[in-house]
Amino acid sequence: MRSNPAAFQLLTPGSLAAVVHLLADEPGEWTPMAGGTDLMVQYAAGKLPARNLVNICNLPELRGIETTPGEIRIGAGCTYTEIANHPTIRSEFPLLRHAAHWTGGIANQNRGTIGGNIVNASPAADSLPALLVYEAELILVSVRGERRLPYENFHTGYKKTLLAPDELIRDVCLSRPGVQSFSYARKVGARNAQAISKVCMAAMGCMNGGVIEDVRIALGSVAPIPLRLKQTEHSLRGQAIGPELLLETKKSVAAEIRPIDDIRSSARYRSTVAGNLVVEFLTRLSAEPSKAARVCSAVLLEWNRMRADEAADSILPCCGSRAWAQRMAAMRPFEAESALLAAARDIWVNLERSDWLEAFRAHPRIGESRNSSLAQANPYPATPQSVKWSADEQRDVANAELAVRTALANANREYESRFERVFIVCATGKSASEMLEILRRRLQNDPETEWLEAAEQQRQITEIRLRKWLEG
């Protein structure tokens, strides 16, 4: 039976202060409504118990995602589309990004908010296991002030929460990880899009020395509330992942969850699938390298967070082409160092020759200090860091015999008059005489071959410098 619109009030107080006053003046009388993706469904079905609704859609105080060095604060009124597209969430909170992407179809992601998903408190909500795994905290506001509490305590029973009748969720706070752990999320539903989960999982963990060092697992649709599997986690820590452990884990998961039969699935199916999902996660986790080997360096995490122009300046010493540095900055965030190195290569080989030339110009001649009179008169686009690296790379040349250095200087001049640019060679690990030999050989190259050979040398230099840069 459809609701009669004349029986429902909907007001727009316009500010957070006005909303919390309304909630305080008549506690329990008013129900906040943001995107309406849950409340309007109940309303259409004639099942909305609330008669008085307060419109908090587009309330400025609930919008926006704020990033500080330690945490990210997501306004409770942020939509799933905004969450899924946010660069910091994409790079550092992949479980939340996946969940945001799974919640309803595009139109519902455009309207549904994270605060609404939490307050609606459905045990099947897709984003809530991710919030449990990230150990989110909520900031609740009322006329009495604000309080901050761990999200894991928020749900007290089926559709019951700690939210007082005069309170509103203002922010969802997540601590930013120092280290990128392995994370895995999966939703099992009747179809991928727009389906309410039969079971969904968010999990994160890391291995160290062949055993599970840390692990967090949360499931949706298997209990009256979104559930963190603390007992199972406890029994997994310190264990090596093998067939016996996986079997034990299935039993532990089954003991910890409380699934029910309903229109979407059966308790038995949910229990089996929940065990399988956790085992799937652990199997993948066991294939992950140890924590030490997959650290996303502090430098990379920090760089991912910089403004684009700062990020380009920061990486420019690795390769002196501004176009390269800008494109690298534009491709952020990078989840792993391997992805950064691969992108560095791809961008470099696709640059224009003028960009290659700019990168070449950032290098001093082999055997020549940056502080020579020529460098002073004709400053290269070098940075203090690249000058220092160049000196390190050419260490062997500085200590070479005078005859070799003179020969290098002559060959350099010959190269520059033939190809009209500085000779580029990846000097790391090469002696002065080796480089002299290479230089003489390359003087015989035709111009096209020499372009490609020089570019390949610059690529090697860039890769070595990126590795140093990542170490900080």
Partner: protein, 165 residues
């Protein structure tokens, strides 16, 4: 007992397909009903009425929404685009043309929503992949199961749009 047994209708001004309109409506009336019953814009269809099927899709300030889940009050001051606002000067929109050519419509109930979901996609991605098209339309159900022709139509419209741009 209801505190507001009879809430008053209010004036809600907004812009539909480029025209300023002001409707008298209850704040909780669905945008879908306002469009269909008051403004006679019956191109927007009602399917499930609970945000699952996408038949009632419209763009609100450029964002794809299910108009069955939008209370009229929340449309106040917004630009709403319905299927009726897509053709200009008697000429089909490039997506409408492609749907017609590729047989992207059978019974037609899902078509306005499909096309608006596709408009929303092409505004964001001018050269979408087939997967991106399928994902963009995943909230729009077709019960005649003509998905292949629909996806083909969107892909072709994207190609033509890039060519003419």
């Amino acid at each position: 007992m209801d505190r507001f047994p009879h809430v008053a209708k209010i004036q809600i001004p907004f812009i539909v397909n480029g025209k300023n309109v002001t409707v008298q409506a209850y704040p909780m009336e669905r945008l879908l009903d306002v469009l269909r019953k008051q403004l006679q814009l019956t191109g927007t269809k009602e399917g499930c009425g609970e945000g699952e099927c996408g038949s009632c899709s419209v763009l609100m300030d450029g964002i794809l929404v299910n108009s069955c889940l939008v209370p009229a009050l929340q449309a106040s001051g917004c630009h709403v685009l319905t299927i009726e606002g897509l053709a200009s000067q008697g000429k089909f929109h490039i997506l409408q043309e492609a749907f017609q050519e590729f047989g992207g419509a059978q019974c037609g109930i899902c078509t306005p929503g499909m096309i608006l979901a596709a408009v929303h996609l092409l505004e964001r991605k001018s050269e979408p992949t087939m997967d991106e098209i399928r994902e963009a339309l995943s909230g729009n159900l077709c019960r005649c199961t003509g998905y292949s022709q629909i996806v083909e139509a969107v892909a072709e419209a994207a190609r033509r749009r890039c060519k003419t741009a």
